[in-house]
Amino acid sequence: MIRNRLRTTVLMALAVVVGLGLGAMWLVHSHTKRFERLLDEELRAIMTTHAITFHTQIISSYAIEAASNTASGTIKARDPVMTQACAALRSASQELRDKVRNPHEAQAVAELMSLIDSLLTEMQHATDPIAARPNVPGANGSRIADLSRGIARVSQRVAALNDARLIAERATFANQTRDATLYVALLTAVALLILFVLYWQFNNLALRPLAILTDSVREIENRNFELSLPVRRDDEIGKLSIAYNDMAAELRRLYHETDRHIVDLNARNRALLTAFPNAVIVLDDDGNLLQINPEAESILSSLGTPNRLPAKLKKPFDHSLSSGEEYLPDELDQALLFRIGEREVYYLPRIFRLPAVEDMDPAWGIILTDVSPFRWLDDMKMNVLATVSHEIKTPLTSIRMILLLLLEQKTGKLTGLQEEMVGSASNDCERLLETLGTLLQHSRLSSGSKHLDLRAIPPSSLFQTIPLSLQQAADDKQVTLEVLSNGNLPLVSADELRIAQVVSNLLSNAIKFTPPSSTVTLNTVKLGPDYIRFKISDHGPGVPPEAQDRIFERFYREAGQDHAGTGLGLSISREIIEAHNGRIGFKSKPNESTTFYFDLPIA
């Protein structure tokens, strides 16, 4: 366990530090102790020598006084000072003798001792009146002086010896101090060594595995999941290594799974693109081809531009590039014509943005849809319509001509019945022609509704000329056509012919549905800032609710309606108005009035 090892290491380091400190303290302490004892001994020896000299002098000074004072003839034996000095001398010499350490000193001390003994004996004699030898008092005094001098000399020697010893001791002590310093240094070095070993061990134990783990995690960051850590131990690092290996294995599994998934997906996309019947081209922002499906490849190569866009396609693409806008046309006439070999093919291009995703820059996609069949069908439809209508219209024109001539009766008189029969046929003929005309108009409109001949025209002019046939129909029903003129309106942008068709359609309906002898009103008003509203109101039954949502549908005819019509009029009108960016609608009040209106933009 790292925790335990860490604790052990720290404790060991602590022990080393404490040991080092204690060792150093003990060294200093013992050293100081020795120094103190040495100093103490020498000091005492010196002091003793001094005391011996001092007391000897006192004694000798008494003896000298006694010798000079022969009259009295004696030394005051019981003089306390004298007695004390003798005692002190005796104890000092005693002490000196106890401290003797070498033979030189012992010899000197022994000499001193004998001298002191002699002195003390002499002093005993001198102070003892019984043992006094009055005849030789003088000899007595000189002897004491000799002894004193001897003592001073010998004690001087002892002191000198002591001094010499002190000097010798000091040198030894200096040596010892040097050794102690050396010891402390050695101890420190050993402690450092131990600490270093401890650190190294700890490093091996905990830090290095962590560093290895960190490196491994970095590797995972770089998507290298193959690395696994050796598990050699049963400690925290070992457990961490196991957990790490598990995690790496799981990541490896996930990564490979995702990898495979992406590969599969990619393969599927590729297959889809390959099977896609439309040409798909992916380009980068500089217009370089990035990806292309086989269909697009075959188109581009058969156009002779295998590695780039053909000029016709490059134009809208460049426009999209510079404007950043997608180009998504859906009208057949926006298809581009390409000549592939002998064939003419129409492609409807769709240019769209592919947004940037992780690791991938934004790009552009182009899908080319082959609309040739539709174009062909469209052309066919137009051709068929034109052909059929011509084929029908031509004989119909002739039939009508003949019927009308018959009805004129200039070529011969008809019976009443014959006239009725021919008249009915003529009416049918008229209706057929009308239907045909509307159909043709419709097909022309649905193919060319974008080609409006827009001009700025005064709104009033659109209601000015009412077609003769409608005026006739109104007259027949005794319907009054009332045109309310509003002279000061701004010009509208309109294709006069086409709007005339709308007016004609709406007016024809109004006349059809308004009751006899009523009024149909045509009015023009300004609607907001952008539009002029054209209104045609009748007093008919109104648009039934169930029909309201559907009347602008193609071929829609109201149920039960007995009025003639193809059901195309309103649908065509709506197409025309919408092509003008206008609006068409109605407002109906049942059995009161109905107003159809269209709004045209102000020019």
């Binding site: 024109t397 002739s398 003949i402 001539l405 004129e408 070529t411 012919l497």
Partner: protein, 213 residues
Amino acid sequence: MSDHEFQFHSDDSAADFRVLVVDDEPTLRMGFRLALLTEGYFVDLARNGEEAIAKLQAEDADFDLMVLDLRMPGIDGIGVLTHLAANDLTVPTVIASAQMDDRVALHCLRLGAVDFLHKPIRPNDLRHIAHEVLFEEQSYQEADADPVHEARCLLRRRKPQMALTLLQESQASLPAKDLWQRVASTVAADPLDSDGDAYSISLHDLTTWNTSD
């Protein structure tokens, strides 16, 4: 059916006018012929462009009016007009067609046609236009007609510049003056410039002019 079954005698000088009807539709041809015969005109028929050209180039050809279909097998209406223009023949021509657009109308105008009938045609439409063309011609020769009629006569005679000048100088305010002025200037302009839109002539204007009266 032959001419002698129907003998119509008009009161005026209609019998003096010779009309050529060119159409590939037999029934329509018959209808046209009857509609004009009942007015007393002399009517000759042609079934196609080739026949029409042959009749127009014949020695005794002296037609005052031709009613010409555009879509015919072989030489079509445009072909007939082109041939006439190339041979410097001038017959006042009314185009009667169902298939016509602004561009074709402009082309016909440049080739000398100035009247248009849009099929389907009623007998009275035909009679009306024939009367107008034939008797306007007369009134033009008698002078003192209105400037639009005069101009149209000049156009029929392939004198568009004169017609244009006449209309431009005229002070009268007539409903169709503007339209025919545009027609005249279009025809007078460079024939290579085939852009009809520049002159704002539409077939609608031309055909409604003739039939709305």
